[in-house]
Amino acid sequence: MIKILFFARLQEEIGKDSLNIEKAGLTVNQLKQWLEKEHGLHSLDQTMAAVNEDYADGSEVLKEGDTVALIPPVSGG
């Protein structure tokens, strides 16, 4: 199982803060495409991702038990 975390605009768009799915083996980019198609999220190509609390490349392959966070452009400070 993969846990996906949503924040800020994405959290409001999808209406929840997390989602558990059986998608081990996908890359980060493939997961984004799946989320755009299946959950209607927008502009995920501009959205960074973190795997297990570290920024990840789009080519990173997701493993069973990973936590993926979608990180829209940050605005802290």
């Binding site: 800020a8 609390e53 570290d54 829209p72 452009p73 605005s75 802290g76």
Partner: protein
Amino acid sequence: MNKEKRFEVTDHPISTESVIQKVTRRECGAITTFIGTVREFTDGKRTLRLEYQAYKDMAEKMLEQIDKEVQEKWPNAMSAITHRTGTLEISDAAVVIAVSSPHRKTAYEANEYIIERIKQIVPIWKKEYWDDGSAWIGDQLEKTPYPEGNPPKGANDD
């Protein structure tokens, strides 16, 4: 709130004095602090309040990563950072950064470096509330996070 935690994301009001205390040392002669406060007007538009949301665990981890970068660039600097989440009113402190060092130049430079890096890599988002609506900031401005390397020149001057 753990007073000894130097890098912290909290939903409580921030005590500037307590952040300063975390970096006060006998070997330092200079302490700089930066307090990011909620400003009422931005580009002529009136802000009513802000809401900050964080990916707390990763945000604290990224604050620690920024500290590692600071240690590499300025080995004599010691820093502490607290970022607040939740609803903030005008003039509330969203972030407090304290840096101590033996000499003042380092304390200024490292402090400014930290706020630039926070705005680039720390997973915290703000939502602005106006008379006529609200929006998560970041997307509209087409700013992108910048996970590695030095901050670009002329980054957003909030």
